[in-house]
């Protein structure tokens, strides 16, 4: 295959003309005649027993169609929301999570009753009249206290609050003995709300006449949702159609089944009305699972010359009131805790702790931002302890031979870590900055620089390690390529864009593989009634490295058939037929050509080879041989105002390597957005609960601080290109890279700026309040020290 014009080209997006015109179709833009709107009555308490639910007043409210509680849904929904093995196959307990509470609520925002009414406003009015009588129970909020056997239980009938406790590699007391310096730190990862600007939403219509269910929803995983709804509602998969057109962001939060997905569809079945539910923002922050919610106890040792020796990691992960469908995926943080470096020994243990908060689940990066953050913080802490330059310690310890097998047996497919580091250092002007910093400090100006030489695992995933992911379904990917008689092409994929630009980039791959004009190719996704039997969705930076390869593979199957037919037409041997830039010809006779479109027409005609069926289309499933391993170096430059604790993020440099690039404009856009979410975690965002009552304090966008354009500087991007040997396109993933890299760069810069105060570590978000207090404490400590010396 000749790599021709389209792969690597900056093609402007096909999605945009409709989206900039207000002509997109997000789930709330669909309404069916007779639609009833659903409002959900949610628990105001973190933990309570439900004594009674009185719907008398609510039932009489204008426009009310129906009110359903657990006992109604128990007739329509079987079982609970499934929990995937993810990276913790053996769990201690996964409390059964029925989509609506029966006798006990275990987090603020858990569904207790639903109201259907003729209009949105009437549904909310009536929901406010549902009278639920609760007995409050103690809220378990602190992970360490929750692990005490005497702690109150998150579920009053639970054995304890341990969801899992898994040691990946046991501690080896001998390992640390080789180290000349040892550092210890507790590193927090605050809870984050994914906050897609389009909230979640579901609309469902059940046709009693033929028993079919159509579901319109904002989702990253249309086919997996159909699978989960089949299991939950007992309808055949063939009778359920999930439609998801434009999706207004997801960041993981629309990548797994949630309570409302079952409640809306079951309510449509129970009421025989189309039912629509659109999440409010407070519902989203309270009820849509959070990301992160962890702390890590780490201990690391190095030799005097900077050689890394041993790392000991214990992850405590706040699972919430139930274990999220993919919540345990975040255990991957342990397996990547060594980052881009060679370590002699790493021990790791993950502990999943139940608390009376909404469950945590996958959010952009899921486990990998945590791994980078802890590893890159540890590297800087060791550099500080050794009085070594943070650049030098990284250079000394980078993995350099690929494939590189890490301490947990994961195989990094390709990398050139130092190259990305060098480029980033050059862009920032590292040596010059250190001089400015030195001069600044003499004038009371606190500048800091922070490096993050990140790696990640993505392109989920090979069938073997993901086989058990969701009820036995391995997370491979599918595509179907159809060439019509007149030569235009439709491509159906199992991935689903929620901003990733698949309508633009996948046809770029098809154009080059089939050698047909880009404009003749149309991409379709987000409707389970079309295309291959199953698709796996978009998450874990997998769409290109797995889905793009399925597209490539299906296109190649089409080319193979077309070549056979061309040979037949040319009356030549197949081996003598050349395919170049969409043209077939016989070796030595390049002037007698047949274009793909001509072969397409012939394929639907009468004169085929004896063993050939009509048509020119193919389905392919791609099962990657490994994950893919992008990497890069990010550098943040900050100034901290010691009087206010305010962090001014002055520059942000990102040099990333995601292998071959299909469309550089899209890749840069993904990095921009990803970096911004990591900066947001480092400096602004945190879901805060009152630790006694379990009441959320950040339930609106007034309190939950998504950055605006004012907080994000111009981001300076460049890349290196190290093709992946894992797939024929040489591609990796880039959707999560920015988020995986950036919190560490920012916090390392903040810590660097504060090093004159003797501050070694700052937790996130590095808010003015937190930093100011740390500076005050450091000043007190230092003056006490001076007193003591007198």
């Amino acid at each position: 295959m000749a790599v021709t014009a389209m792969i690597g080209a900056k093609i402007h997006r096909r999605e945009d003309p409709r989206l900039v015109s207000g002509a997109g179709h997000y789930v709330d833009d669909f309404t069916l005649p007779g639609t009833a709107y659903m409002s959900i009555v949610r628990s105001p308490y973190a933990h309570a027993r439900i004594n009674s639910i009185d719907v008398t007043a609510a039932s009489k409210a204008p426009g009310v169609v129906a009110i359903y509680t657990y006992k109604d849904f128990a007739k329509a929904i079987t079982g609970g929301i499934p929990v995937a093995p993810a990276f913790v196959a053996e769990k201690k307990q996964t409390p059964n999570r029925f989509p609506i509470a029966e006798k006990e609520v275990v987090y603020q925002g858990e569904a207790v009753a639903v109201v259907l009414a003729d209009s949105r406003y009437q549904a909310v009015d009536a929901a406010n009249l549902v009278d639920v009588n609760y007995d409050q129970l103690p809220a378990v909020m602190d992970m360490e206290k929750a692990l005490d056997p005497k702690s109150p239980k998150v579920h009053s009938d639970g054995p304890d609050n341990v969801a899992w406790d898994l040691t990946y590699v046991p501690d080896d007391a001998e390992a640390m003995k080789e180290a000349d310096v040892v550092i210890k730190e507790r590193i927090h990862q605050q809870r984050l709300s994914p906050t897609a600007i389009e909230p979640r939403g579901v609309m469902a219509e059940y046709a009693r006449a033929d028993g079919s269910l159509t579901v319109w929803m904002s989702t990253q995983i249309p086919h997996l949702m159909r699978f989960y709804l089949t299991l939950g509602l007992g309808l055949p998969e063939s009778r359920i159609r999930v439609v998801s057109q434009d999706v207004g962001g997801g960041f993981g939060s629309k990548g797994y089944p949630q309570a409302e997905d079952y409640l809306v569809t079951a309510a449509a079945k129970l009421s025989s009305r189309p039912v629509k539910w659109i999440e409010g923002r407070t519902e989203a922050i309270q009820g849509t699972p959070h990301g992160r919610g962890q702390f890590f106890d780490v201990e690391a040792g190095a030799k005097k010359d900077g050689t890394l020796v041993a790392l000991k990691v214990t992850q405590y992960l706040d699972a919430g009131g139930y274990v999220g469908n993919l919540g345990a995926f975040q255990g991957v943080a342990c397996l990547l805790s060594g980052g881009a470096y060679k370590w002699k020994h790493i021990s790791a243990r993950t502990v999943g702790v139940l608390t009376n908060r909404v469950p945590t689940d996958i959010y952009r990066g899921a486990g990998r931002p945590e791994a980078t953050h802890l590893c890159e913080r540890v590297i800087d802490l060791l550099a500080g302890a050794l009085k070594m330059d943070p650049v030098a310690i990284r250079r000394k310890n980078f993995a350099t031979e690929f494939p590189f097998t890490n301490n947990f047996g994961l195989v990094y497919d390709s990398g050139a870590y130092e190259k990305a580091l060098d480029k980033a250092l050059e862009m920032v002007g590292y040596d010059r900055f250190r001089k400015e910093q030195e001069e600044g400090r003499r004038k009371g100006k606190y500048l800091g620089i922070g490096l993050s030489s990140w790696i990640e695992i993505c392109g989920i995933g090979p069938s073997a390690p993901t086989a058990g992911a969701t009820g036995g379904i391995a997370l491979v990917e599918s595509a179907q390529v159809r060439v019509f008689p007149t030569g235009s092409v439709s491509v159906y994929v199992g991935t689903h864009s929620h901003g990733q630009s698949h309508e633009t980039t996948f046809p770029q791959i098809v154009a080059d593989t089939l050698g047909v004009p880009y404009d003749s190719i149309e991409l379709r996704h987000g409707d389970t009634a079309e295309g291959p039997a199953f698709g796996y969705g978009t998450y874990g930076s997998r769409s290109l490295a797995v889905g793009g390869m399925a597209v490539h593979k299906a296109s190649k199957k089409v080319v193979d058939k077309a070549r056979k037919l061309a040979a037949h037409i040319f009356e030549a041997s197949e081996d003598d037929v050349v395919f170049d830039q969409g043209q077939f010809y016989v070796k030595g006779s390049p002037d007698k050509r047949k274009a793909m479109a001509e072969i397409a027409l012939a394929s639907y005609g009468a004169s085929l080879p004896p063993d050939m069926e009509q048509g020119l289309e193919a389905v392919a499933y791609f099962d990657p041989p490994n994950f893919v391993w992008p990497f890069g170096t990010h550098i943040a430059v900050v100034e901290v105002d010691p009087e206010t604790g305010d962090v001014d993020l002055q520059r942000y440099i990102a040099v990333d390597d995601c292998g071959n690039v299909i469309n550089p404009m899209i890749v840069d856009g993904q990095i921009h957005g990803g970096v911004t979410q990591g900066i947001a975690q480092a400096l602004y965002e945190e879901v805060v609960y009152d630790n006694d009552s379990g009441q959320m304090r950040t339930g609106t966008m007034t309190d939950y601080l998504i950055p605006t354009a004012n907080e994000i500087p111009n981001l300076e991007l460049d890349r290196t290109v190290t093709p992946s040997p894992t797939n024929e396109l040489g591609v990796k993933g880039i959707g999560e890279a920015g988020t995986i890299a950036s919190s560490a760069a920012v916090i390392n810069a903040v810590c660097d700026a504060l090093s004159p105060f003797g501050i070694k570590h700052v937790d996130m978000p590095a808010s003015p309040d937190r930093i100011w207090k740390q500076i005050q404490q450091a000043r007190v400590a230092s003056s006490n020290g001076e007193e003591a010396r007198k």
Partner: protein, 170 residues
């Protein structure tokens, strides 16, 4: 008790009977049927519902439909003229100023007002002018570029960023 509200939306006269409590954004979306104006929060933070009311950017969740009586409203659907995208729409396309596209109509409307007040804004003025709108996908970098590029197309005096061809290669 429903009351009458008469407005001009995108140049077309509209008249409906609505509940007094109906928010303008719900009126535009659910009654008039213009679904390009989006809703992203309950508290007037996100700006996805931004429209122009008599030429000024307004978050349409902060007004009742009845308060729009006699006003002239422009929504995203009213920006393109004769099948030609508005320079801001074109610039967001050219500069990759959107990904999922959900916040985009609000940004374009807020930017339209910004440029009507300040035809030649600096990057900082663009950032400040758009601080009432939240985007979760783009990191704002390309949104700022888009507005700057549109300003140049629309005749801002010194802006330099030129719109690039929609199918160009870098």
């Amino acid at each position: 008790m429903k009351q009458k509200v008469a407005t001009t939306i995108n140049g077309e006269r509209r008249e409906h009977e609505v509940e007094p409590r109906l928010l303008l954004v719900h009126y535009i979306r659910d009654v008039v049927g213009l679904t390009g104006t989006h809703i992203g929060c309950d508290t007037s933070q996100c700006g996805a519902c931004t429209i122009l009311v008599d030429g000024k950017a307004v978050k349409s969740c902060t007004m009742f439909a009845l308060q729009a009586e006699g006003r002239s409203l422009t929504t995203i659907e009213g920006m393109a003229k004769d099948g030609q995208l508005h320079p801001l729409q074109q610039a967001f396309w050219d500069e990759h100023g959107l990904q999922c596209g959900y916040c985009t109509p609000g940004f374009i409307m807020a930017a339209a007002y910004l440029l009507s007040e300040n035809p030649n804004p600096t990057d900082d003025e663009i950032r400040q002018g758009l601080e009432g709108n939240l985007c979760r996908c783009t990191g704002y970098v390309n949104i700022v570029k888009s507005v700057k590029s549109a300003a140049a197309t629309m005749g801002g005096a010194t802006a330099k960023a030129g719109a690039k061809s929609a199918a160009g290669r870098s």
